[in-house]
């Protein structure tokens, strides 16, 4: 796994150290905060430390990670195969709405979940056809996917419910593992929404596919040197279709989990997805296309978000509007520090078998 993080070419040493530096700084800051909090429990540091070590924060971070991490996993599949899927945001939106709509109609929350996945998969399939068969520019087509979903979901909600927001439906609820759920702090891992467990499973499966299966190798080859794959007798087109459709399935799980966790889809402005698809892209870039790395960096972003939510509830000084933009600012800083991301060699390029 650690060797998968070294996938990049020679210059990765430098990037790796930036990454390490960033991660190291984060850890050091957290440790310093915790120590300060321990020494001065009544100070701001104390409050922050309390927030950081609270089981609720971990629970919130996990919950917030779910949509982002699923989308990031999907993005890894697509981009490793050579198709940059910048439309993840759109896939999240369409599945978030689809899941709530079908849940509301059928009353079955899992039926709704599957429906959300189907909606996202269909849109991803459209994206695949447009970029692979019709060789559209991947960035522009991805943008179109986002904009279509951004219009379509509130449009449908308006048509059906006469409001961009849907009525509330039942939620996923949570599954608790006896005994383990009582662990301090880590108990949050064992008393969570079923989608959290699904996410763990998806992270493991994605890692397994890339590291252990022939299909995973084909995806990598398709993104790094499609010709090598083609001349080895494997259809690049098929591999890319499969990878993009998998990205639709995964992002769909993320979107469905997002809305069914709240039991509602809200479609005002940037909708309830509100940039999570784009943060997912940064998460997998920062995680160096490694599913586990992407999950961990998602937890970092989501952790930030969770901390800000808890802080808000506790009425800590910083204005709400500013706290809300911290994840975006962090993403920009991370990108500036990590700099050039090691894109697969052929990502963004069309591939033709020259027939």
């Amino acid at each position: 796994m650690s060797d998968a993080a070294g996938d990049g070419e020679g210059g990765f040493v430098e990037r790796y150290s930036t990454r390490a530096l960033f991660a190291g700084t984060t850890v050091a800051a957290v440790v310093a905060l915790l120590v300060a909090g321990l020494l001065f429990p009544d100070s701001l540091a104390g409050t922050l430390a309390a927030v950081l070590t609270s089981e609720n924060t971990l629970a919130a971070a996990l919950r917030l990670s779910v949509p982002i991490a699923f989308a990031a996993l999907g993005g890894i599949f697509a981009e490793k195969s050579g198709v940059i899927n910048i439309g993840l945001e759109g896939l999240l939106i369409i599945s978030a709405f689809g899941a709530v709509y079908v849940t509301e109609v059928t009353g079955g929350v899992w039926v709704g979940f599957v429906a959300g996945v189907v909606a996202s998969t269909l849109l991803a399939a459209l994206f695949a056809v447009v970029t692979i068969k019709f060789r559209a520019d991947q960035i522009i087509a991805g943008l179109a996917v986002w904009l279509i979903a951004l219009g379509l979901a509130p449009f449908a909600s308006q048509v059906i419910y006469n409001s961009p927001n849907t009525p509330t439906v039942q939620t996923m609820g949570s599954i608790a593992v006896p005994v383990l759920e009582d662990l301090p702090f880590f108990g949050a891992l064992f008393s969570a929404s079923p989608t959290v467990y699904l996410l763990f499973l998806a992270v493991f499966c994605s890692w397994y596919v890339f590291e252990r299966t022939a299909f995973g190798r084909w995806i990598r080859a398709s993104g790094e040197n499609p010709k090598a794959l083609d001349t080895a007798g494997v259809s690049v087109t098929h591999v890319r279709y499969a990878a993009v459709i998998i990205s639709g399935v995964l992002a769909g799980m993320g979107g469905a989990a997002l809305s069914l966790d709240l039991g509602q889809f809200t479609g005002n402005g940037p909708t309830m997805v509100n940039g999570k698809g784009f943060i997912a892209i940064v998460a997998y870039l920062f995680g160096n296309y490694n599913p586990v790395g992407a999950f961990l960096s998602t937890m970092l972003f989501a952790g930030l978000d969770a901390v800000q939510t808890v802080l808000q509830l506790q009425g800590i000084g910083v204005p709400r509007q500013l706290i809300r933009i911290t994840p975006f600012v962090v993403v920009i800083i991370v990108l500036a520090l990590v700099g050039r991301t090691q894109l697969p060699e052929a990502a963004g390029d069309h591939y033709e078998t020259e027939e």
Binding site: I86, V130, A136, I140, L143, I148, L150, G151, G275, I332
Partner: protein, 415 residues
Amino acid sequence: MSPADRARKALSRLVEASATERILISSAALVLSVLIGAVLVLVAGRMTSCTAGEAVYYFGTGFCYDPVVVFDRLFLGALGDPLSGGWSPNGQFAITLRETTLLLFTGLSVALAFRAGIFNIGTQGQMVVGALATALGVLWASAFVSGLVGTVVLIPFGLLVGSVFGGLYGAIPGVLKAYADANEVITTIMLNFVATGVALYLVSGVFKDPNSAANQTVPLPEFAQFPSLFFGARQDFSIVALGFGLVAIAALYYVLEHTAFGYDVRTSGVQPEAAEYGGVDSKRTIVASLALSGALAGIAGAMYVMMILGTFQTGIPDYGFDGITVSILAGNNPLGVGVAALLFGVLKSGTTVVQFATDVPPQLVGVLRGLIILFVAMPEFFRLLAKGLPGQWSESEAVATDGGVAVDQGGETDE
């Protein structure tokens, strides 16, 4: 020669000619999007409920929404109903021109960056920053002048402030790209969220108008706004602003085609390695084009404040994202941006007409925007369509037969 052959030849000849190709593809994308939009309206019309009297009937089925009415309102309504007599430039038509003016600037903003090979999705955020800066700057300056002098001084001043701040905000992703190699697609999207968040914070706090419930700044005095010469004041349109827009088109065209800077930008855009070889400083060109792109977006923001709203209020409409569509539809050509901006001006202005005249949700136009981008992005689709026309031809005959059936059933609509 069979008609199918002739059509196929004509179409493939057109699709291969690259100059005409763009226009053709853009038009085809528009038509296809409208057709899909029509289907969407019909489907949506089945999903909502209405009384039997309100329904329209196609193919023997009742629909709550009528796509013909929707698109009639969308296009003709936006132009102020030129076909029904008694047309006046003062009504909806002025609103269309107003929207066109803003889209001209956001479209040019995106187009300039595109020509430099940079995907500026941050036009929206740069516009927000420009708008807020203009509102605050002009408000401050309006204490020193007034009357006609005020107008003559403050409007250029406001545009300047908007362009400077929009430009600075645009330079941020430029610097990040040039010196830290950070992907501009992601940084500009993030900066949009940041701009909106910071503006909300400022306008709901320090700069909030105490006399308003909305999150907005204190309104600008009348003399600090664009004069509504020739047009009614109600439509918030000024021919002066449109004039600025036309000048901007000409200026950008001139810069790109006739100056050394424009040559640098275009060369970097199509072939960065060759640009470097030719002595183009790629880092500086990246920062300069994004700053200029941001400045154009900032002007759009300034006009939004000084022509339309008279104040800065949170929740600025998606002119920035529409600018992407306008630019892509125009093939990133400044002259094409003029036409595409008018088209999108019609769509935006028509949205409100549709909202008044029908129950169809206005988000429909957002979907159309996405569809148009999608189709314009895939010229290959139209090329294949042209090549595969004989096969396609029989299918379209099948559609025609269906159409015939529809005509028969048209009788039922009269019942």
